[in-house]
Symmetry: C2
């Protein structure tokens, strides 16, 4: 794993958008940092890596002290990621709607708000909305050697189970 200095980590959080550092009576590094709602622009999921309309809202990047990023991802009905792997694994927490996820050679599994998914390092998988419902999940993604995802081919309609 690529290690960042603490100062770099703080700078990376600060670079995310409007932040508030809460000074304390302890050492200068020992502050809380607040990233404000709406301070970071949403990103459209690129067509190379997704099928259908997908919106990504970054929450925070991976840092040395907490080596996993967080972001909300919203899939419109029928939208899904391409097949991909995570070199350091990924946790999903579904926050709204109904969705699906599949692993290479395995079944399609329905997921819904409140469900949590663990995808171990290196597993080829996909996730997205159900055909008739949007789905939002928080994605908590580990980082290894500077990478957190390796993208593969698109998920076909047959693989999606439409």
């Amino acid at each position: 794993m690529k290690l960042l200095t603490h100062a770099t980590a703080i700078a990376a959080i600060a670079a995310l958008g409007a932040t508030v550092s809460i000074a304390s009576a302890q050492s200068p590094a020992a502050t809380q940092t607040v990233v404000r709602a709406g301070s970071q622009p949403a990103i459209d999921g690129p067509a190379a890596n997704f099928t259908g309309r997908v919106r990504v809202e970054p929450v925070f990047p991976a840092t040395a002290d907490a080596p996993f990023s967080a972001g909300y991802v919203t899939f419109e009905p029928g939208a899904r990621s391409a097949w991909h792997t995570h070199p350091a694994g990924q946790r999903l927490i579904v926050t709204a709607g109904n969705g699906r996820t599949g692993v290479w050679g395995g079944p399609v599994v329905e997921i819904k708000a409140g469900d949590a998914v663990w995808c171990p390092p290196g597993l080829k998988h996909w996730h997205g909305a159900a055909p008739g419902s949007a789905m939002t999940h928080l994605a908590l993604t580990g980082q290894k050697d500077g990478a957190n995802v390796h993208w593969l081919e698109h998920v076909t309609d047959e693989q999606y189970g439409r």
Copy 2:
């Protein structure tokens, strides 16, 4: 940090409640695990560590591959944690309502749905609801030497800024 074997980590997730393992064509360990919404009982925040009514809903535990736990914490209006530190830091994502957080010797800062907070390792701090609003946050808490929190004294009304 206490390292768990992969098998132990999977067992720890499985022990959380109703789970679904999605078999794949890869090695037996390479499965996705789904922890279903509502499958884990909520816990009342104990009076030793909180002021007012607080409900904790576990999402997943720390594991070897992803060494941070996740849980939703809901504070009724005016409720807050005691002062405490996290040996490996903590990230909060506010998911509903309005709240407050403070660090030792620093100001009280308002937080609201969509805000994200980073608390570095060892920083003495507290978090909770606003006086007139409940607040829910997802807490993502690192683990070091088997511990993720060290509890200290309660937050007085004056420190809370009532």
